[in-house]
């Protein structure tokens, strides 16, 4: 604790913009942040048939260079069966990690504070669909004060893309749910373009502006289908989200539906206290979109950059914004590249760097200082590849990799082959540090954890 750095300015950042999901610079603004060296990366991992026990699991990797176990898997906790493990998120006090399954709609709540090196299963939510009135596919697990917001991807009526969001207490008790606005029921929202599809995916809050932003992907019928089959199904390919919704954060009511065609996925908002904008990327059209509030207070969306050659379907997946709002890492699953965009002018991003990380690169997480960048592979069980065609990468398709970033080059630090280790397909990463819990020497910063 004595080394805990309190990010007083963070309070404002927090109040201002937010982002959470993939990395330390993408966490909920309501949450403590690790601004120094992280001790662990928790990797929510899909089970693979014939790989280890075949079960979904939370894998803990020691990433503190001062540790004798640096770069090693120090713990693995299987949850029984496969659930299409996908995204995860921390509670606002960072004591619990929520990890959800898109297929079974189960949510696993892990205690990561009692012993950060050895997470334990605290609670399992197995009635998400019933409690929420039919929401299927819990995706984003996002911290709000004293509660978790869970976005859905689908529904139990037609397993299409219409869905909603749910709220739970930090203890895992259901509070309420709300459905995304549709043409049939805009719920008071303004439809600003051609779409009000009711699809969901990611969510981020901008508390200072009382804004919640959500994006849209596709339903269970598509994300559980074989990728090749889906790509050849013209009707299925029509069933992707084309919207971003602006919500009243306090009231949890939709205010405006924006057209963002082509499946807008991850949302990342700027941290600056006067920067009222977020980014998303569209999987099918390979563009960076800016979601921004104009001088008149209106929220808008516009495409601001291309990501590679859209005709080659690079398939942008995870993105990560730097703490100074100047750069955005963009992974493209199909070509295995990470690209860095200069976003200092958010209306005109420019690509300044690219590097091949490996086959089917998916998630990216960076440390608060931006010096360490972690990558995992794996998108969805039925979409993932089983081998790489790239020379020297044969078999290396399910990995967790750390690179060091010096502002000009990504230098590999270590790589773990999750298939060879009998673990599975690594997906989302979350950071842990002993210092968050008062028992070790990593530097941590805080938004809503006040130290006094």
């Amino acid at each position: 604790m004595s080394r805990m750095l309190i990010a007083l300015l963070g309070i404002l950042m927090v109040a201002v913009a937010p982002i959470s999901l993939a990395d330390e610079t993408c966490m909920s603004p309501y949450m403590a942040k690790i601004v120094g060296q992280e001790d662990y990366v928790y990797i929510w991992t899909l089970g693979m048939e014939d790989v280890g026990d075949g079960e979904d699991k939370l894998v803990t990797v020691d990433v503190n260079p001062d540790s004798e176990h640096y770069g090693e898997v120090v713990h693995s906790l299987s949850v029984g069966g496969r659930n299409e493990a996908h995204h995860s998120g921390l509670t606002d006090d960072r004591r619990y990690l929520w990890a959800s399954g898109l297929d079974t709609s189960k949510i696993f709540i892990f205690d990561i504070y009692t012993d950060p090196a050895q997470p334990r299963l605290h609670r399992e939510i197995d009635d998400f669909v019933a409690k929420t009135g039919g929401i299927v596919g819990p995706h984003t697990n996002y911290a709000l004060p004293g509660r978790m917001l869970i976005t859905g991807l689908s529904n139990n009526r037609d397993h299409g893309g219409r869905t909603g969001m749910a709220e739970y207490t930090n203890d895992g008790d259901f509070i309420t749910s709300v459905w995304m606005p549709t043409d049939d029921n805009l719920q008071g929202a303004v439809k600003s373009g051609n779409y009000a599809d009711g699809y969901g995916y990611d969510a981020r809050a901008l508390p200072r502006r009382n804004v919640l932003v959500t994006s849209s992907f596709t339903g269970w019928n598509n994300y559980m289908m074989n990728l090749g089959k889906m790509m050849g199904d013209a009707e299925a390919m029509k069933r992707f989200g084309n919207t971003v919704v602006i919500w009243d954060l306090h009231a949890r009511t939709p205010k405006k539906v924006l057209d963002v065609p082509g499946a807008p996925l991850e949302l990342r908002c700027a941290w600056g206290s006067r920067s009222n904008y977020c980014f998303t990327t569209t999987a099918l059209t390979s563009k960076i979109w800016l979601i921004y509030e104009d001088d008149a207070g209106e929220w808008n969306a516009k495409a601001v950059a291309d990501i590679g050659d859209a005709s080659k379907i690079p398939l942008p997946v995870d993105i990560s914004i730097s703490a100074d709002d100047n750069h955005l890492w963009v992974n493209t699953w199909n070509d295995g590249l990470v690209r860095l965009f200069d976003i200092s002018d958010p209306h005109a991003p420019e690509q300044v760097f690219e590097k091949r990380i490996g086959e089917q690169i998916n998630m990216v997480s960076q440390s608060w200082d931006g010096e360490r960048v972690y990558f995992t592979s794996s998108l969805l069980a039925n979409w993932d590849k089983t081998s790489s065609s790239a020379e020297g990468e044969e078999g290396d398709v399910q990995y967790f990799k750390l690179y060091n970033w010096d502002g000009a080059e990504l230098t590999p630090e270590f790589s773990l082959d999750f298939v060879e280790m009998g673990l599975g397909s690594p997906h989302q990463m979350r950071f842990g540090a002993h210092a968050l819990y008062g028992n070790a020497p990593a530097k941590t910063g805080h938004d809503d954890m006040a130290a006094r």
Partner: protein
């Protein structure tokens, strides 16, 4: 031990209170803390950036009654001592009015921590006193994390700094750590106390700032934290509660 305020953002993000009166309020509060917190290690550190609760609200809040505040569960009971030193239970102070409950300790000198909670509660008090529909239906409870330093008499003097004449603002403490712990656990108030190498409590601690909105049926209807806590939204929520 020493906490350092770090500037993680560009200087342009720094926001200072504009109102002179608020500056004076903070100086007064921090001065009170400094006098009473002889063990606090960084009582002279200046505030660097102030939480949104110190500013004018930066948005038009949804109108009272236009939104729902679904129950987040029952508000727990627990043992307390009031400022007169009388033993009782927390539920004695919940259930008959809409209540805003915050956990604080008087030696807290992080301006964006407990002082923020007390500042915002003062704003709530001011607004409620002006609203005849609210004034008899709202209570504020400030509950101490620190039974060792926040004795009933200390807490009483602290409360006298902020409570307006005739307003229902209660300041509660506990007789011991053992009496306090179940309440903190029940409200998910996780606290890290700071000790020196010999195990002596240094009088400082870290915790998530949470303020609870509790209805007259003792159900939690909202939770606010540092980046979310603002008198205008709390009062709006109080009005919403009382309209339902």
């Amino acid at each position: 031990m020493h906490f350092t305020a770090t500037h993680l953002l560009k200087p342009a993000t720094m926001i200072w209170p504009r109102a002179n009166a608020m500056r004076q309020w903070l100086i007064g509060l921090l001065g009170w803390c400094a006098l009473s917190a002889f063990a606090a290690p960084h009582q002279h550190e200046p505030p660097v950036v102030l939480a949104p609760g110190y500013e004018d609200l930066q948005f038009e809040p949804p109108s009272a009654g236009s939104y729902q505040l679904p129950s987040m569960g029952d508000a727990a009971d627990g043992l307390i001592l009031n400022t007169s030193g009388n033993a009782g239970r927390l539920h004695d102070y919940l259930g008959d009015k809409a209540t805003v409950l915050s956990f604080i300790f008087t030696t807290c000198n992080d301006v964006n921590g407990c002082p923020l909670a007390t500042y915002v509660m003062s704003g709530v008090q001011k607004a409620v006193l002006k609203d005849p529909d609210l004034v008899d239906q709202v209570r504020i409870v400030s509950f101490s994390f620190d039974p060792e330093k926040d004795t009933p008499s200390v807490l009483g003097r602290y409360g006298d700094q902020f409570r307006a004449e005739g307003f229902d603002w209660e300041f509660l403490t506990t007789a011991s750590e053992d009496a306090l712990r179940p309440t903190l656990d029940a409200y998910d108030q996780w606290v890290i106390r700071d000790y020196d190498e010999e195990g002596n409590y240094l009088g400082t601690m870290s915790h998530i700032l949470r303020v609870y909105l509790i209805d007259s049926d003792r159900r939690i209807r909202n939770i606010y934290s540092t980046s979310y806590l603002h008198a205008d939204t709390v009062v709006n929520d109080l009005r919403t509660l009382l309209m339902q």
